[in-house]
């Protein structure tokens, strides 16, 4: 480390040269003048860009003047090229804004593009003042039986950083490609992206460790220590981690999935190796659920096979009515509700024949499919309202709806729910 420090401090020796000092002074004047002008007369938008162009042109002219006069100029030229690229990164917003979400674009720019560009600029500067190949070989220490030098350390850090932070966009791109090839759904695509991302992260980390020259015996020793730690302290985290990997590969819980959690319909928003984030529709809450919950408990999913959910409402009708007419009315009323699927069409059933002598209601049921399981309460409510209106218009009944417990129907691929609507006996 001391050698690296001395190498860097040694660059000050270039300040003995007039050609270097004059270039640095010109750069300093040109860069600070724009900052001064911007602070004194702040502008934005097109005028600000004009000022930047003026700055670049000024610097470029200075460099050109030095070159024509036969003086060294490359430091100024390098800065102009660097600034052009740096300012050019701003225009990436316009390029990517159509294809990337705003937050994704922000992440891409702040976590990947600008750091990568800064590293590129740093290496460019290094090539002028020193030999990057030589600096890369400067030893910085000893780690787990291996000698580490600057190059190994920087390369391992860069790859690990890219694997952990920047693997998201390429994973999504690859997953999107696989989605197009296999014609899979959106949830599958998101799960695939996650699996790819975790694979990239694992590969990147392993490569980094290998680059640092950590021997396999050292890795095994670390793994042994970890297993001891897992046994005592971090069992839950390890369990969540393993569950997360298993669930991702199994594909039972994926982003976009609609499922029941604690009796409430929820949508899976995101997944990490430790926990899954759910959005609960009824109170707009976000739940962070440890992965082992899904691994060890029964999970009710509406979207694992297909996204449809079967619903059922029951309706008491006076016992003297013609069942065929009532069923036709119920089916017709449900068909007109937005969100109720017509294929398969709503199906009315007579569950129990009433008793005209004691005036016990006949019990009818209407079964129908909806495309969005999360919206089941709203759609069921609309169906019941429509039935009530159509029966009321016929003067048949005054109905009181009552939510019934959900009933699973294994005959339908996916899980359905039933709802009971009951009316007081008349």
């Amino acid at each position: 480390m001391n050698e690296l420090f001395q190498e860097i401090v040694g660059w000050l020796g270039y300040l003995q040269r007039g050609a270097v000092v004059s270039q640095l002074l010109l750069i300093l004047i040109a860069v600070t003048s724009l900052g001064f002008v911007q602070r004194r007369w702040p502008v934005a938008g097109r005028t600000f860009w004009v000022r930047r162009w003026v700055q670049l042109l000024t610097l470029g002219s200075l460099g050109f003047g030095l070159a024509v006069a036969g003086y060294p100029f490359r430091l100024i030229l390098d800065l102009v090229v660097f600034l052009c690229g740096w300012y050019g990164l701003d225009s990436l917003h316009h390029f990517f804004v159509q294809s990337l979400h705003r937050s994704e674009l922000g992440q891409l720019e702040i976590q990947v593009l600008r750091p990568a560009y800064l590293v590129f600029g740093l290496i460019t500067l290094l090539r002028s003042v020193d030999s990057p190949a030589d600096m890369a070989l400067i030893p910085v220490g000893h780690f787990l039986g291996s000698d580490i030098n600057v190059g190994d350390l920087l390369m391992a850090f860069s790859v690990a950083y890219l694997a952990l932070v920047a693997s998201g966009p390429p994973s999504k791109l690859l997953a999107r490609l696989i989605q197009h090839l296999l014609l899979s759904g959106e949830g599958t695509m998101k799960a695939t992206a996650l699996v790819i991302r975790y694979l990239l992260m694992a590969m990147g980390l392993l490569w980094s460790v290998n680059r640092l020259g950590v021997h396999s015996t050292a890795l095994l020793a670390v793994a042994g220590g970890l297993s001891l730690g897992i046994g005592f302290g971090i069992k839950e985290i390890a369990s969540d981690f393993i569950s997360g990997v298993w669930i991702l590969f199994e594909g039972t819980v994926r982003p976009g999935e609609k499922l029941l959690f604690d009796g409430e319909a929820c949508e899976v928003r995101s997944q990490s190796l430790r926990a899954t984030t759910l959005w609960r529709e009824c109170d707009n809450a976000v739940l962070v659920i440890p992965n082992q919950t899904f691994f060890s408990n029964t999970t009710t999913s509406y979207t694992l096979g297909d996204p449809f959910r079967r619903c059922e409402v029951t309706v008491p009708v006076p016992p003297d009515q013609n069942p065929s007419e009532i069923i036709a009315l119920m089916e017709k009323s449900a068909s007109s509700i937005h969100g109720v699927l017509n294929d398969p069409s709503p199906q009315g059933l007579l569950l129990k024949i009433g008793d005209t002598t004691s005036w016990v209601s006949s019990i009818y049921a209407l079964r129908f499919m909806i495309g969005d399981p999360i919206n089941q309460p709203e759609i069921s409510s609309a169906v019941q309202s429509a039935i009530w209106q159509i029966l009321s218009a016929k003067g048949l009944a005054s109905l009181k709806a009552e939510q019934a417990p959900l009933v699973m129907d294994p005959s339908v691929l996916g899980i359905t729910a039933s709802h009971q609507t009951t009316a007081p006996n008349q």
Binding site: E7, G10, G13, Q16, R17, A19, R74, D78, V129, D134
Partner: protein
Amino acid sequence: MAPMLIGLLGCRPSHLDHGLPQNDALKGQIFVLIGTNPDERFDSLARNDAETRLSILLDTFRSLHPQVRVQVQTLPASDLGDVLLRRNRAGLSPDLVIVRGSTAMALQQQNLIQPQSYPPGPLANLDQGSLHRLRLDDGRFLALPVGLFPQVACYNRKRLPTPPTTIEDLLAPASRARIGLPLQLSGLAWTLGSLGALDSVKAITSGQPPTETLKQPIAAWLAWLRSPELQQRTVFQTSQNGLLDQMGAGRLDWMPCHGYDFDRLRRQLGPAFAVAPLPSGPGGAASPVTIERVIALGVNSSPNQRRIAKAFVAFSINPVNQRDLALRSQQELSVLNNLNLETSPSPILAAMMASNRQSNANRQLYQTIINADIRSQGQMQYTLGRFIYGEIEITKATDAFVETLRPFSPRLP
């Protein structure tokens, strides 16, 4: 910290003078760039070896001039041209460049180093052939020689208790030596003398028409490279690094090498590492290639840095330092003619000196061969490789080989 920064910037407070007269004292910082050899791998070991060789001179120089700070940078030879071009344009070129002679000539052709005039006194004892090659038409020198790396034989003492002195010994069934040879003319040039093809190569490179009489020894030399007794026990490699790896791993027992390979082999072979002169043959003595290490000035130095750089150049060819360099490094020889190292016998030095004597008579030719090898990058190697592996016949290989040699003049700028 503060004195170091002040020193780096070339300023010095009076309290650092310790009251001594400092009118001619050197102070400030210079940058030295070492270019590794083209056939040398650039890694931590090569970097350490290169800087260790230089440190023999630098440590003494710094002890004489404690206010001089020297920053050493090492670079692969293949990157030198691009890096120097870039750094010269930025005003950040090194003050001194240490490379092999042929590389310095290439850098000079691109104006990447600064030729310099030197007083005749210190140059009087330098090898005049070297100076002739490094002198420009205007009398300035593009660089000065500082060390010689003669080609010798590196061998495994455990496998070969006695080094072979003739090619016949080397290939004798009793020797059981596993031989490594490079597929480069500069690396194989020692066999030209042993097998009697040297005069033909000299004649062709000097511009004589390639008659059948001149071609015949070259054809015989090529035939030897493909002879069964050689091929049965020889590994040919396109790079010296490949040979060093195999030798270090114990898969080879004998190979031609230079001083800058010694450290790597010594680390791997330990006490089994040994050095001997290259074997002679039916055509005469071996004709090994000696590589010159030269020192050149950079183009962007400040006047103070140039003064320090020139002082270091003069220092490095001083007889005391040249002797010290040869004796302590045990890897390179002095460039001074009148330096007697015979009084300090060492098997390694003795082998290098014997090899250097063999190469002295042909130094000009070797420069031509080295340049031909570099310039025809791939062509000679390709021809040799195809011939050795049986893809082309000897007549075609001889013609192609002679053609590769022909365009190059023995006198380079």
